[in-house]
């Protein structure tokens, strides 16, 4: 059974076709890159996969289960976590609380436990806290634990967001433009971080990225979208050679010279 299977997915926003006949299979363990010019439909793919949109046509299977009709938090609970293009941390909660709250689907207690402070409440809160603290530790964020995310440098906020996604113990990690807005040294750190995470946590990573340096360095397979259609798929070297990709990014030769 493959980890993720996208079968002939087409998605419309009103009359606008954002995605056309997308097919993709992840067996597990890959580091896949999704690239394409602005408006190619990359984030739409992530929004479909994470259950935020429901595909107009086609189906998406995660661990063999159809995601249609599941709400995003249910998809997340099945082992899929993501980060956002524009960082979306909970800014009125501390970094540590952010990493605790993302374990909301496996709290192990409910309203009554929270109010009565039962034994199970204390045990579960301790467990959640420990997971969060361990993650902060290995990501080198421990000294930011009690800070509000908005007070952190941009690169650190990205790191916290990745940490928050990891606290969900995902099998598949979706990174939406993780290098956006980063300076070159932060990008280098990010590349190391992503590679390290994949080995350390043994998970499948799928990322959307604009910066070619990140994609070409990291990804083993690259899928290129343009106007919602897949125009190329293959290793970084193959994709770089592909004439349709060059065309999509640089435009037609005639136009380019005009």
């Amino acid at each position: 059974m493959s980890l993720l299977e996208i079968r002939e997915v087409t998605h419309y926003f009103g009359g606008l076709r954002a995605l056309y006949n997308l097919n993709l299979t992840l067996e597990g363990g890959e580091l896949l890159g999704l690239i394409g010019p602005n408006g190619a439909g990359k984030t739409t793919v992530f929004n479909l996969v994470s259950g935020f949109y429901t595909a107009t046509e086609g189906e998406i299977l995660f661990l063999g289960e159809d995601l249609t009709g599941l709400r995003p938090h249910q998809v997340t609970a099945r082992g899929m976590a993501r980060t956002f293009q524009n960082i979306r941390l909970w800014n009125s909660l501390t970094v540590l609380e952010n990493l605790c709250l993302s374990q909301h689907y496996q709290l192990g207690y409910g309203l009554l436990g929270a109010v009565l402070r039962t034994r199970s409440y204390h045990e579960n809160e301790r467990r959640i806290r420990k997971t969060a603290q361990q993650l902060l530790e290995i990501l080198g964020l421990s000294h930011y634990a009690d800070e509000l995310p908005k007070n952190l440098p941009y690169g650190m906020q990205r790191r916290v967001e990745i940490g928050r996604a990891l606290s969900l113990h995902p099998k598949l990690l979706l990174l939406d433009e993780p290098a956006a807005g980063m300076n070159p040294s932060e990008v280098d750190q990010l590349i190391d971080l992503v590679r390290w995470i994949r080995d350390e946590f043994n998970l499948t990573i799928w990322l959307i990225e604009h910066q070619m340096r990140v994609v070409m360095n990291l990804c083993e397979i690259i899928k290129v979208l343009d106007f919602g259609e897949t125009i190329a798929e293959g290793s970084p070297a193959e994709v770089q050679q592909n004439s349709r990709v060059v065309q999509a990014y640089l435009g037609d030769e005639e136009v380019a010279y005009a």
Binding site: S50, G51, F52, R71, P72, H73, T76, A77, A81, R82, F84, R88, L89, W90, N91, S92, L93, L96, E97, C100, L101, S102, Q103, H104, Y105, L107, Y109, G110, L111, G113, A114, V115, R117, Y121, E125, I128, R129, Q133, A145, D146, R164, A165, L168
Partner: protein
Amino acid sequence: MRRMIPFLLYLLVCIATVAGAQAGVFNAYVQLIIMYVGINIILSTSLNLINGYMGEFSVGHAGFMAVGAYITSILNVWLFTDSSVFGPSLLDPSSALYLFPVTLLAGGFGAALVGLLVAIPSFRTRGDYLAIITLAVNYIVKSSIENIQVIGGARGFMGMRNVVNSMKEVVDVPWVLIWILVFTGFTVWVLHRLVTSTYGKGIVAIRDDEIASEIMSVDTRHMKVVAFMLSSGLAGVAGGLFAHVLGYINPGTFTIMKSTEILVMVYLGGMGSLSGSVLSAIGFTVILELFRPLQMAKWVVIPLLLILLMLFRPEGIMGHRELTDVFPWLRRFLAPQERRS
């Protein structure tokens, strides 16, 4: 042992208050103000859960209060008193002593169910649009009660005084005051524990970023239902207590004016701050009484204070902070929670 300190302190305050009332230190007027303070604390802290912690804008809190007030009053008058509406009492009037909290909670439960009228639409809409829905629910409740003639319609409903009296006949202590103190403590206790747990922070997460919350594993619908039902349920309990302080209620009491009054307390105290809501409920109730000599002019002076507050301190007195954040030494007594790492 330390975690008992806030509870013991509150118990002490309650005992002192009841003893003071019993010994005649507090006259009936002062007792009345203390009871209003308690009711207002329940109302403002419970509304703060929606407007402050969850970041929605509910303007219909008085509607839920009305539901609780009517359900509790009707149950009590029907069960424990001989009335022209419901005939002779169903149960022994003295049993009101034990069953009063049960009818209060029944009122709260009824109000919580009406809270679903707001909770379910909140799945799809938010912000201004949801505010309109809460306003509509407030009107639906008020107009429905006005049109049910059996319970007095627009003329109002009474007979709760007899219930209180039959409780006093058994043991002569100020029962309504005691139950107000109990439920005020209960409300603050429940809300505090909720919002400091990771579970309850799911409500704060919705305020910060609803989409991210849903995608990052928070069941936002569940949290919304919990928040709205708990908030309106507590407002219902406050309504039940309010009805028994006055002994008479009519739908005209629970209009948008009353909702606004509660809103003012929440914003005065500060969004997302329980201690702020408690302080402002005390302050607002007392100021309202102090300004009584101004008569109608007080409704010029108080809104004016509100304008000044919004200009110079828009986050309210406390604004997302608790007393323990302002005075960290208080933490030793009041919040001996898990140590921060």
